[in-house]
């Protein structure tokens, strides 16, 4: 839009919305920090086989509970070993895969369900809206941790079951936010214009509504991903999530719990990494919200 070769035009038009967005994003410390940490951990997860010094499943009963290097250990096991002599750093690195995968896929599943419900409720209103609002109410009334634990216990704890259970439980925020945003957008003139020229409903939803609620959607995706990662860790900590010997950070905390008295780092390290990952994703989500909707900051 902006003609940069003409200084007068540049002065009149000012920076384009896209340039403004970029400038806001680059000056947002939380967003930059969050993105860098998340990117780093995604890279670690992808490159796990290259980065991990040992096999995360390889037990060595001669090398049980070796302390980390900063507590008198050796560089052979930088973060020490657990109660079965498995290298802690390697398990931590492979654990990033589990957390990120569960978070991403669960957020994707719940995102599809929640967005479909929310957009339908916001666009069609009336009975559709009443049904969706009712379903949201029902979903919110169900205690998430309890239901997830019960279902995982009945179906058996595996990565797939945990992902599906979380994906089917965490759609409420998507539905709430997408409903509100769609309601707002569908009152705009350009939606009415599209309706008047006879555009089909799917076309309006895809080309008029979706692009305009997309920013909000991305924010919720990140926040729900963090939520799913925390829940997986809690389920695994309670012994009804990802099952041993899979390296999950929540499971590592749970396994280290019994030795907490003498080897507190067994609990401290995986919990701290989990905290940093969730913090980074949340900062990214909050940052994205600030940057894409600066007027709605709270």
């Amino acid at each position: 839009m902006t003609d940069v070769t003409d200084p007068l035009a540049a002065e009149i038009h000012g920076p384009s919305p896209r340039q403004l967005l970029k400038a806001r994003a680059l000056s947002h410390k939380g967003l930059i920090f969050g993105m860098m940490v998340v990117l780093l951990l995604v890279l670690v997860a992808i490159l796990a086989p290259v980065l991990a010094p040992h096999d995360p499943y390889a037990q060595s009963l001669m090398n049980r509970m070796v302390p980390p290097v900063f507590m008198g250990g050796t560089w052979e096991h930088p973060l020490g070993t657990d109660h079965l002599g498995r290298d802690y750093l390697s398990r931590l690195i492979y654990g990033a895969r589990v957390s990120l995968m569960i978070g991403a896929i669960a957020a994707l599943i719940s995102g599809v369900i929640g967005t479909a419900m929310g957009v339908a409720a916001g666009y069609f209103g009336g009975k559709v809206d009443a049904v969706v609002t009712f379903l949201i109410n029902v979903r919110l009334a169900m205690p998430v941790v309890l239901v997830a634990l019960a279902v995982v216990a009945i179906l058996g704890g595996s990565l797939t079951v945990v992902i599906c259970v979380l994906g089917l439980l965490l759609w409420d925020r998507f539905a709430v936010v997408m409903r509100a945003s769609t309601l707002q957008i569908s009152r705009r003139d350009y939606v009415a214009a599209a309706q008047v020229i006879g555009a089909s409903t799917p076309r309006i939803l895809l080309t008029e509504i979706m692009p305009n609620v997309f920013n909000n959607l991305i924010v919720i995706v990140t926040l729900e991903m963090a939520h799913a990662i925390l829940l997986e860790a809690a389920l695994s900590f309670l012994g009804l999530g990802v099952q041993p010997p899979t390296p999950s950070w929540g499971l590592m905390v749970s396994e280290g719990k019994n030795m907490m008295l003498f080897e507190p780092w067994l609990v401290l390290i995986p919990g701290a990494v989990l905290f940093v990952l969730v913090l980074a994703i949340n900062l990214m989500g909050d940052g994205l919200r600030d940057v894409t909707a600066p007027e709605g900051r709270s």
Binding site: I154, L240, N282, S298
Partner: protein, 305 residues
């Protein structure tokens, strides 16, 4: 106001009914509850005997109706594990959970509201930054990990507090902090946002123009309006917290309803699990209903919603 209450009550009942059906049907997720109960090594005859004993051979809807009507009378059947009525088991354990939930929400309110107010009065001050940090950290903190750290520091290293159990009030200090911290960020953010919003409104300017003192403006005019949504959020959070207490109770070995839920799930004690899911949902439904009514009472504009 009465129409509003009746409408909300009808909705709450409908939600409760749906939730009861879902928590009942969870039992059938495994396909055959009798086989699940008998275990993998059981013979076909044993499974059949169990099926008849617990009535799994009848249509599911019949079983549901029967379960629902007994539940309405306060009879949730008998626990497979304890061989005791589920209702009395839960009632006994709920005391601990209710105490914990109440202490948790009080802790959250007592810390979050003042912080949120000060943060709103002095945006970008040190306190605002501390408050922001606490809320961002709180949202990312795995509660089981936070609990374990508190145990390591205050129970093991310093020896100030007992690490687990529910014998005295001192046993509740750490669980209260962990559970309360979980609810704190949302309450603080809402208080801060509400205060900022109200402080910029016309009636505050009018109050100041009339010459009302700053304390009076802040507490009599601003806080009273900003606190309305916070009260209803606190009620909703209370419902969430009771359901979320399962993690905290297991970390601190507090034998409340959440702990019972965890044990029962691990033991395949389905009647207890069903009843607990229903009870926790009912708490949430009652609390949100009360929050809605309270909101409508405090702010008549909400009544049309």
């Amino acid at each position: 106001m009465l129409t509003f209450i009746l409408k909300r009550l009808g909705l709450a009942l409908l939600v409760a009914l749906t939730v009861s059906f879902i928590s009942f049907s969870l039992l059938f997720l495994s396909g055959d509850p009798a086989a699940a109960l008998a275990g993998e090594t059981a013979s076909g005859e044993d499974v059949e005997a169990l099926r008849r004993l617990y009535g799994f051979d009848r249509p599911m809807l019949v079983q549901y109706a029967e379960w629902l009507f007994s539940a309405l009378r306060g009879d949730f059947g008998e626990s497979y594990y304890f061989k005791l009525p589920v209702a009395s088991l839960i009632a006994e354990r709920l005391q601990v959970t209710m105490t914990l939930g109440l202490c948790g929400i009080l802790f959250a309110l007592v810390t979050a509201v003042p912080l949120g107010v000060i943060a709103a009065i002095r945006p970008n001050s040190i306190i605002d930054r501390v408050a922001l940090f606490l809320s961002v950290a709180g949202q990312a903190m795995p509660s089981f990990w936070f609990g374990l750290i508190l145990i390591v520091v205050f129970a093991i290293q310093l020896g100030w507090l007992p690490p687990s159990g529910a014998a005295t009030w001192r046993h509740f200090i750490m669980p209260t902090i962990v559970l309360g911290y979980y609810a704190m960020p949302a309450i603080m953010r809402l208080t801060r946002a509400g205060m900022l919003d109200v402080l910029n409104s016309d009636f505050i300017r009018t109050a100041r123009a009339k010459g009302a003192g700053e304390t009076r403006v802040l507490f009599k005019h601003a806080l009273r309006n900003a606190i309305i949504p916070v009260v209803s959020l606190a009620a909703v959070q209370m419902g969430f917290m009771l359901g979320g207490s399962i993690v905290v109770e297991s970390v601190f070995a507090l034998h409340g309803a959440g702990y019972l839920a965890w044990e029962s799930i691990a033991r395949n004690d389905l009647p207890t699990v069903q009843a607990l899911i229903l009870v926790f949902s009912m708490f949430y439904i009652v609390f949100t209903f009360l929050a809605d009514v309270l909101n409508a009472w405090l702010d008549p504009r909400m009544r049309s919603a």
